[in-house]
């Protein structure tokens, strides 16, 4: 991940006991505020339900005990709700769980009980009545989005999200597979080139064909010269072919796939397939070299 170091980004790196480094994204104020509001709503609702339950069970026995329990419960909820949940739910309160964020120490380790309670106590200073957005101001001045409570207890809040495993891009165009057969076999794809190919091919479906050509031109032109392919081969197709050869092709299946691709290419009808149709808008007249590399449709004439 050499290209990530220079970015100005809300990403924090963590080195774990397994001696790998992975990255967390920090949660800024606009992710944390909904979590806080949800927490307040849950507090109010839970306390309301608790009040009803207690007044109907213990209240019938002794009114004073019920009132005492309410008052102590309201105190505990007001000051210790966040702290207790973050201790026992591994750094999350219900509001944080719903918005997908979690509290960790600044080194990425899980927090202990004292840190959890302290950071929630100091929300009283962050929401200081004389200057209610003090916490917000402190968060924006801090490069790890910490408010006063986080600064005192040495914690950060990170986003914990799932993401989908998409794997390798699928290449539908059979001509790319065909073209892959004509790339020189002794060409070794270096790592930066492989990364660039992967980045291009996985995103190319969002581009228009003109844009694809424009982007692929930077790599495609020198590669075409190096491989000795005809100069009007589509750059996009060349990069797809190289991607196929680097990431997908497997020697055992190569012949089988090439045969399939040939058959598919032979049946391609330019008026029914949108992909080929779009590719058709620039069609140069076939040069003699190009005619030589295509697989002959009819048997050669015999003299």
């Amino acid at each position: 991940m050499a290209q990530r170091h220079a970015q100005i980004d809300s990403i924090i790196r963590v080195v774990t006991p397994e001696n790998i480094a992975f990255e967390y994204r920090l949660a800024g104020p606009f992710r944390r505020l909904p979590a806080l509001i949800i927490d307040w709503v849950i507090c109010a609702a839970a306390f309301f339900v608790f009040m009803i339950v207690v007044s109907f069970t213990i209240g019938l026995l002794s009114g004073g005990l019920a009132v005492a329990i309410f008052v102590v419960a309201s105190f505990v909820i007001q000051w210790f709700y966040g702290g207790l949940f973050e201790t026992f739910m591994n750094g999350q309160t219900p509001g944080k769980r719903l918005t997908g964020i979690r509290v960790l120490t600044t080194e990425g380790q899980p927090i202990n009980g004292m840190q959890a309670i302290m950071r929630n106590l100091f929300r009283g200073a962050d929401l200081f009545p004389g200057l209610p957005c003090l916490g917000l101001i402190v968060m924006t001045l801090n490069n790890r989005s910490q408010r006063l409570g986080d600064l005192v207890s040495g914690t950060i809040v990170v986003v914990e999200q799932n993401s989908w495993l998409t794997g390798v891009a699928r290449l539908e165009d059979p001509r790319a597979i065909q073209l892959a057969g004509y790339l020189p076999p002794n060409f070794i794809v270096s790592r930066p080139l492989a990364r660039a190919l992967a980045t291009y091919v996985e995103r190319r479906r969002f581009f228009s064909p003109l844009r694809r050509r424009e982007v692929a031109k930077h790599l495609g032109e020198p590669l075409l010269r190096q491989f000795g392919l005809p100069a009007d081969t589509s750059y996009d197709l060349l990069l797809c072919a190289l991607y196929y050869r680097t990431f997908i092709a497997d020697r055992g299946e190569d012949e089988k796939r090439l045969a399939e691709a040939t058959a598919a290419a032979a049946q391609v009808n330019p008026f029914s397939q949108p992909f080929a149709q779009v590719q058709m808008e620039y069609k140069p007249p076939p040069l003699p070299q190009e005619q030589m590399v295509t697989i002959p449709q009819s048997p050669t004439r015999q003299f």
Partner: protein, 325 residues
Amino acid sequence: MKVVELLERRRQNWQELERYCDRISLSSLNTAEISRFSALYRAACADLALSNSYQLPENTVQYLHKLVGRAHNQLYRAKRFDLKAWGKMLLEEVPQRIFNDRCVQLMFVFFWGFFILSAWLAYSKTAWPEFAEEMIPPQMLEQMQQNFREPIDGRDGDTNLQMAAFYIRNNTGIGLQCFVWGLLVIPGLYITAKNAVWLGAAFGYMARPDVPQGENFFHFVRAHGPFELTAIVLAAGAGLRLGMAWIMPGQLSRGASLQKNGAEMMPVMCAAMLMFLFAAIIEGFLSPSAAPLWVKSAVCLISSGLIGFYFVVLGFPRRLLNAAR
């Protein structure tokens, strides 16, 4: 080996690890599942470490970062409360810190200074007439006079419970506010001064010879007085220490100084909260009860002795704790 093959082989394991992560609490797994989970996690870590040499595509690497992050958080969980460590901290470290701490000493002088000044002003009718009426809101003054009109003769248990809970919330809330606002220094000083002046005015007013409720008032407050007044000085002192931490960080950076002092002062605040709890229980149950005066005075003396023992005897710097000045 090509990337597609590699992804096919590893995909099942990654998805299995994801399924384990989705289960809410890992404590519901049995031992075989836990060791399977840790083996899968180690394998995913190895995959991430080698992602560069495998030439994995960028979005797969992103996926692995997030997967490893989630699994890491599930495997290394938050530490719970450790009672023995807390007991040791409360009985050994906290007294020694308090004994040497300049901020607590400063707050002691600050609080008691305002208290005595305010009490004297409320007591003497010439220096500032109507001082008590200005400092204490009139309906609260009336309520105090109402409460202490008759001699203390015991209350029903229900009211005792209610009032004990009320004192827990009220007093501990004030103490926590002093602590938390102390980080911002000026608000902390303001609220401590306000409470000191309020309490002093009440005491001074009740001490006046022409106020008939004074006798009952002092009868009431003597039992829980030491705990409560000590607790509020402790809370304010801890807060001021945190405020000084970022103003005068000494050799550390401001963030590091805040963290260090926060970790040191939190046990002090916990000791203060315990004292508030004791004071509230005594104030709720013993003070309004019909027990004779000598019992309440005895409780007052015992609690003062305990507090003195805690601070002076336990706090005397046996191990030379380097409390910051």
